[in-house]
Subunit: 340 residues, 2 copies
């Protein structure tokens, strides 16, 4: 029953709780992810007392294909949850990782994914402290699904929430939109552009920390993933009971993303991002915050893209490049399934 | 786009991040699970500073069928993680719940499952504070998979781990074995017995608390789920580098489970439990601990089933009812896939 990491495949026995599963955990997961917490080998991890309020966030990842330009389901599963914890204003510390494997998945693919998770976690400065493995029959899953849950500690005194925005607040965006979704879609549809579109998947906790260090009066941070920037702005507007005015020309979009979106009849405002954030900030601190964002590798193209206005209907309006005005509505329907 | 909870089904759009997903979250998840943390509506939950060391544990649940005598995937997903946190010696406080839904799942089934989770969580005294929903295409999942992650707080000074057992320690079991696995298998195979086998799925945190309150010198607790009692004993023996001697006659098994196992050629020692625990305890405290367990509803049939012995090979030996001796090995192969 030795694990053949080169040619072996996931078998039902790998989820049985018996010796085969123990072999998989020791020979693959522990080897790639190993740290003192995982090595405890108990049903969970014992972690030191945290120093403040906790933030907890979870995400299942079902992205298809499993590997794409700029990442894979493993790095995405780390970034997705690190970012959700970070945009709550917390320092992400620990992740759990639960795997649902489809019978027949090549172990070499699984190893590649888990090694990618390990790199992403090290990069983001978080530890994967506990995990789980289940196996489902061929045709009852799709390769691998990964659910990560993150725990972090919130800065003392910090209060960020989507419901804290008020008229006059400034809307900032950390960089260009649409890369993650268009990278997945291009790979899935076999589209080739002159320069390939690379996912922006990245851990935002460093950027967030730099932003918090400015002491700027932040209301909320949010990462515009599924549903894209348009949906995230609508969520924030709804939570706070305000409207927004956005300048289309101020929102950075890479030319290759513009081209791909035009070709496919998609709007980059509705395409998922995995390494960007939206910030709502008091007007007097916006320039200072923007400068701090631009000083970070993941915030180089940060921009002020609009402002919060009074509007009990919660409409997000956009001034277009041509000077017209349109409502930027929630995403409806399903342009891009299984993007994360 | 109103949610039809009676006749509606899960559609790809419910995972899109847009309006349909917001409707599903508001109209189903928030309604069934609602609490102040979920109502924050942000990417995660902000939780009060915990008062000690944290315990974190995660489990994906892929049980098939989704509904079975004694529970469903929803209650199981709560009990599974509550128990993993509890057997670490911690008081479970918060759960996250991440759903991977298969396109076409009846919303009425989903509602039933989520309501069952809500009841199980209330019962166990834990809060479901944050969640996630993804949707995969028909044929790429199997109804619903639920990953729960639990966070709890460990008692001050308590040190439990599978690696702390030593020769002379007493092995206790909280009740009869094999009910969960045989309930699932009977339902799956359409077997009918005179009295149906009902899963033992239950939250163990109350029992654990009562056990800790005795002050007995506990080494480790573990819930014998996948792989059954035999595999759990082997895991503990291996972690501590010791052997065990178990008395078969001391291990409670319900007659209907014995009958079903005989009929199917299965051994109850390898069948999953979801409401039982194994305790390793210093010999001088075993009787006191046993009495405390028996005073609890989930420990009425608790028993001393054996002892820890010196054995650097980590063998678990069992004295059979007939007085013979056999090695109780790890589960190998796959008698019962997707049991939890």
């Amino acid at each position: 029953m030795k694990l053949d990491l080169l040619h072996g495949r996931v078998e039902m026995a790998h989820g049985s709780g018996g010796r085969a599963m123990a072999n998989l955990i020791e020979g693959l997961f522990a080897k790639a992810l190993g740290n003192a917490y995982l090595a405890q080998g108990d049903d969970g991890a014992v972690l030191p007392p945290p120093s403040g309020r906790l933030v907890m966030s979870t995400d299942s990842h079902v992205v298809s294909p499993l590997f794409f330009p700029g990442g894979d389901i493993g790095s995405l599963a780390v970034h997705g949850t690190v970012n959700d914890v970070a945009v709550m204003g917390a320092k992400p510390l620990y992740l759990s990782a639960a795997f649902i494997l489809e019978e027949g998945l090549p172990l070499a693919d699984l190893l590649r994914i888990v090694e990618s998770m390990a790199r992403a976690a090290a990069d983001a400065g978080v530890l994967i402290v506990t995990g789980d493995t289940k196996v489902v029959e061929k045709g009852k899953g799709d390769g691998v699904f990964i659910t990560t849950t993150g725990v972090g500690v919130l800065r003392e005194g910090l209060e960020l929430s989507g419901n804290r925005a008020g008229p006059g607040d400034v809307v900032l965006l950390s960089g260009s939109i649409g890369e993650h979704g268009m990278a997945i879609l291009s790979r899935r549809e076999g589209l080739n552009f002159d320069s390939p579109i690379v996912s922006d998947s990245a851990p935002l906790n460093g950027l967030v920390e730099a932003m918090l260090d400015t002491g700027a009066e932040l209301r909320a941070l949010r990462d515009p993933t599924r549903g894209g920037l348009a949906t995230t702005l609508n969520e924030l507007a709804k939570q706070s009971g305000v409207g927004m005015r956005i300048e289309e020309a101020a929102v950075p979009v890479e030319p290759v993303v513009v081209a791909a979106c035009e070709f496919l009849g998609l709007d980059p405002f509705y395409i998922a991002n995995e390494g960007k954030l939206v910030a709502l900030c008091a007007p007097q601190d916006a320039d200072r915050l923007l400068a701090a964002m631009r000083a970070q590798p993941l915030g180089k193209k940060a921009a002020i893209i609009g402002e919060v206005v009074e509007d009990r209907h919660g409409f997000v309006q956009m001034t277009t490049r041509l000077g017209g005005r349109r409502i930027l509505d929630w995403l409806s329907g399903e342009p891009l399934p299984r993007i994360c």
